[in-house]
């Protein structure tokens, strides 16, 4: 693969975290012309922060990470327009308002939108998802002056929406298919802790319950929903948070292979030359064993873009994600996860699990029973150092090796109570043969010893 040359025009559709990261990384290595097209907003904004605008913590301009001067100085052109269709043979984008845009290389980073499952009444006014800026504006209108809301789906967007609605004093009921909140991802104990916490914040959870239909009034607005079990709940707003689907409709006739998402290989190459797709809208043809076909997170969007930038800059590298990580916040409780902690354990799994008496903090270290190799970490209300957890997982640490370095991993603020003692006690009870560490490990020593920092620094 040739490096993109300075005469070529790279056009990116979408200015979310994936599109923006790609533009930035390519710009670092090339003088080529770069244009980002977005119908959603002229400037890139942080999608994950939409909730804070609704709750009044920030204004819209506060969730814009890069001001105008940045794009001008970086010579990254911004086009605020809707791409009607892509003409692959002519290498042209047909825009709704502007003139057609010619490209030499095209990157599709169009993201996704809420998935609907053909529920009766799903087009009534007051039914919506929360993905885009326009969704936020719609939510402002749809929730003005209302008293009751129902959220369908027990995932991360669902709890964000619940928190948003609660901030305006709106009564919220969540329909959750599983026995506990987010139990398709969180193991029993963590899911129970988070479920209790959400309920404690005044959210009503209808567990093992699904949406049957949405009922409207004569003016076409939502007035209630009916559940699978026949329960009718009056409400003036229905939040749909049952996952997202790739935004690919405008590519129907473009001649690009599409399944649910735009099909790509491990270089993010689509079925058409010079056309790439990544992040929410992309679907891997052949994911590595055990890896998902679609990765639709903020973090993976950024990682995809970093990998594709290498390819566009002539250093053709397959995408290798490395150890998984993610984070979220459920009202007052922060969540971090490193590596792989499945919702349901098999007999090969064993874990150290600790939680405090108030059930606001928890730590789980999951390991392979036979080899004691660390598989993953779940944290609730406690922060660990990403760099060190990544190192442990990447280097295949055993639980015993992890325990030697455990005191160095905590990232909680100064003066906070430390909980590693409790975990260590559990560990030594389970493994009485293991010796306590000879000396207290310190993060700065480990950072230096393992080289857990980059040598480049821009500030």
């Amino acid at each position: 693969m040739e490096k993109i040359n300075s005469q070529e025009h790279l056009v990116i559709i979408g200015n979310g975290i994936a599109g923006v990261t790609l533009a930035q990384r390519v710009r670092q290595g090339s003088d080529c012309r770069i244009t980002m097209v977005s119908a959603e907003s002229r400037l890139h904004f942080s999608r994950t922060a939409l909730m804070y605008v609704y709750m009044g913590h920030m204004r819209l301009q506060d969730i814009v990470p890069y001001a105008d001067w940045y794009w001008q100085e970086q010579k990254i052109e911004l086009v605020h327009d809707f791409v009607e269709r892509v003409d692959i043979s002519q290498k042209k984008l047909m825009l709704r308002q502007g003139d057609p845009l010619h490209y030499d290389k095209l990157v599709l980073a169009t993201g996704s939108s809420a998935t609907y499952y053909n529920w009766p009444g799903q087009t009534l006014q007051g039914v919506q998802g929360l993905v885009s800026l326009q969704d936020l504006e719609l939510m402002e209108t749809n929730t003005a002056g209302i008293a009751q809301a129902v959220i369908v789906g027990g995932g991360l967007i669902g709890v964000e929406m619940a928190e948003m609605l609660r901030s305006r004093g709106i009564a919220v009921t969540m329909l959750i298919r599983d026995k506990l909140y987010w139990h398709n991802v969180l193991p029993q104990q963590e899911a129970q802790l988070v479920t209790d916490h959400i309920q404690h914040h005044g959210i009503e959870l209808l567990l093992q319950e699904e949406l049957q239909e949405i009922l409207g009034d004569t003016s076409g607005k939502v007035r209630a929903i009916r559940t699978r079990n026949g329960k009718e709940l009056p409400c003036q707003f229905v939040g749909i948070t049952t996952g997202v689907k790739p935004t690919v409709e405008f590519l129907k006739d473009a001649g690009i292979d599409i399944d649910r998402g735009i099909l790509v290989n491990e270089f993010f190459e689509t079925s058409q030359p010079e056309v790439y797709a990544l992040s929410d809208c992309a679907q891997f043809r052949n994911p590595a064993p055990g890896q998902p076909t679609m990765e639709q997170l903020w973090y993976t969007g950024r990682l995809h873009a970093e990998a594709l930038a290498f390819t566009l800059l002539g250093d053709r590298k397959p995408y290798q994600r490395g150890p998984w990580f993610n984070s979220a916040k459920f009202f007052d409780i922060e969540y971090q996860t490193y590596g792989t902690v499945p919702a349901h354990f098999t007999e090969q799994h064993e874990s150290l699990y600790w939680q405090n008496e108030e059930a606001t903090k928890a730590i789980r270290l999951l390991y392979e029973k036979v080899t004691a190799r660390l598989l993953g970490i779940n944290l609730l209300g406690i922060r660990y150092r990403h760099d060190l957890c990544h190192h442990w997982l990447g280097q295949g640490y055993t639980l015993h090796e992890v325990m030697q370095e455990l005191p160095a991993v905590n990232f909680d603020p100064e003066f906070f109570q430390r909980y590693e003692e409790a975990l260590l006690r559990q560990y030594y009870t389970r493994f009485p043969d293991q010796q306590p560490p000879v000396k207290h490990t310190n993060w700065w020593e480990l950072r230096k010893r393992f080289g857990l920092f980059s040598d480049s620094a821009s500030c």
């Binding site: 994950t48 001001a67 973090y299 984070s327 922060r383 990544h390 603020p413 100064e414 906070f416």
Partner: protein, 429 residues
């Protein structure tokens, strides 16, 4: 509701003391009103903060007009600004309120009340009452609880009770928590001379204390802990900003232009105060032969424009409009001095946790010093900025726990996380 009624009665009492001293004892209405106001404010704060969980504390800040430069914010801004103008240049207009504090002044200092005692009393009360607000708002964090208690303690003990006690004992009034170049005249020859002459052994100790803190303790403490040991743990200006000013912290300007103004103003002010001090000493040693009236002119110019106009009128008066650290960010020479030490000779930094930043912007929004924290965090870099006062609110409002204030080795202090690729771009070139 009872809290609001008490606040209203208290304010009315203070108003009557200010304007109606001829008809009714200002002590009764003024001091009584202040006490009722305090009780009402504490009650109201307790009730309104307790019912919000830690993550709910910033709900609606940009939607309520009082905290988003709405009409009431302008009114509070004008009233505060006007109060400072009266205090500095027309203190006689505050006679009623000054008289109201008479018993308190006699009890604490054994001498009549004056406008500075009135100011000190109100200032300390503001720090204490709103200190309770900050304690409740940040109750989930031990860092903030300890830090808030620290600023309340230093304001009450070191900046109010102790100077009063010194006066009672007929010693020079001295604030052990303020140092040159913030309290610029503490190292002016006139003050040194007066302290040594008037305070005898204690005066010598005061001069020694001030000099040691300015030139020895400040660099040493800043080396180990960064600027925060002073700006957000000890300093009275910082104390007011972290308590009474906390509801306004998001109003600071984060733009690149604001940073350019900051650099263009604060370092010249530091230069100004250093020059003034040097001139005064040269003048003093040469007994006026070398510089004539020049140094005196420098000192009074500095006192008027920086000491009164900037730190008082603009610094606090503009809280509801420009945020709570206008003085600390644009004007304070001590902050400039500490900032240079923090940037170049310190172990302090705010670490970013790997690649966890989601660029939401809470950190930048709630940075009272107007630092674009997110700029660094989203690139996995540590935040090392001269202006950072180490209040720790960025780390507190981060919904992903990405930031941590810490002191570590200076080696590789600027190095970022290996888990994220970054721009080689600086905001200020």
């Amino acid at each position: 509701m009872i809290g609001l009624i008490l606040i209203s009665i208290g304010l009315l009492g203070i108003l009557v003391a200010a304007v109606g001293a001829d008809y009714i004892s200002p002590v009764l209405t003024g001091l009584g009103g202040t006490a009722v106001f305090t009780a009402g404010a504490l009650l109201y704060i307790w009730q309104s903060r307790r019912q919000k969980s830690p993550a709910e504390q910033n709900h609606g800040l940009w939607q309520k007009e009082a905290t988003s430069r709405g009409a009431s914010a302008w009114v509070i801004g004008f009233v505060l600004t006007g109060f400072y103008v009266l205090l500095y240049w027309f203190p006689n207009t505050l006679q009623g309120l000054i008289q109201a504090m008479e018993p308190l002044s006699q009890w604490l200092r054994n001498r009549p009340s004056d406008q500075w005692f009135l100011y000190g009393t109100f200032y300390t009360l503001a720090v204490l009452i709103m200190g309770v607000f900050a304690l409740l708002k940040y109750r989930s964090s031990r860092y903030h609880i300890i830090r808030t208690i620290s600023v309340m303690f230093f304001q009450l003990g070191f900046a109010f009770l102790l100077p009063g006690l010194l006066l009672m004992l007929n010693k020079p009034e001295y604030y052990f928590s303020y140092f040159w170049p913030l309290k610029y005249d503490y190292l002016f020859p006139g003050t040194v001379d007066y302290l040594v002459r008037d305070g005898a052994a204690l005066g010598v100790f005061m001069v020694f204390w001030g000099a040691v803190f300015s030139f020895l303790a400040t660099p040493v403490l800043t080396y180990f802990y960064g600027k925060r040991w002073y700006c957000s743990w000890v300093c009275g200006c910082g104390g007011l900003a972290e308590t009474a000013g906390d509801p306004y912290r998001h109003l600071s300007d984060k733009s690149r232009k604001a940073w350019r103004w900051e650099v263009a103003i604060i370092y010249p002010i530091l230069g100004f105060v250093i020059l003034t001090t040097l001139f005064l000493w040269i003048n003093s040693w040469s007994e006026g032969r070398l510089l004539g009236d020049l140094s005196g002119g420098f000192a009074s110019t500095y006192g008027f424009f920086i000491g009164a106009m900037f730190s008082g009128v603009v610094g606090v008066g503009f809280y509801p409009l420009m945020g709570n650290r206008v003085w600390c960010r644009f004007g304070c020479p001590m902050a400039a001095y500490l900032g240079l030490l923090q940037k170049h000779f310190s172990r302090f930094r705010i670490s970013t946790n790997g690649g966890q930043c989601i660029s939401c912007g809470n950190c930048s929004t709630y940075c009272e010093m107007g630092i674009d924290v997110r700029w660094y965090a989203q690139q996995g870099e540590p935040i090392i900025r001269a202006s950072c006062v180490g209040c720790g609110i960025c780390a507190h409002v981060c919904p992903r726990g990405v930031l941590k204030l810490e002191n570590g080795p200076r080696e590789d202090r600027y190095a970022g996380s290996p888990l994220i690729k970054r721009d080689e771009l600086r905001i200020l070139s």
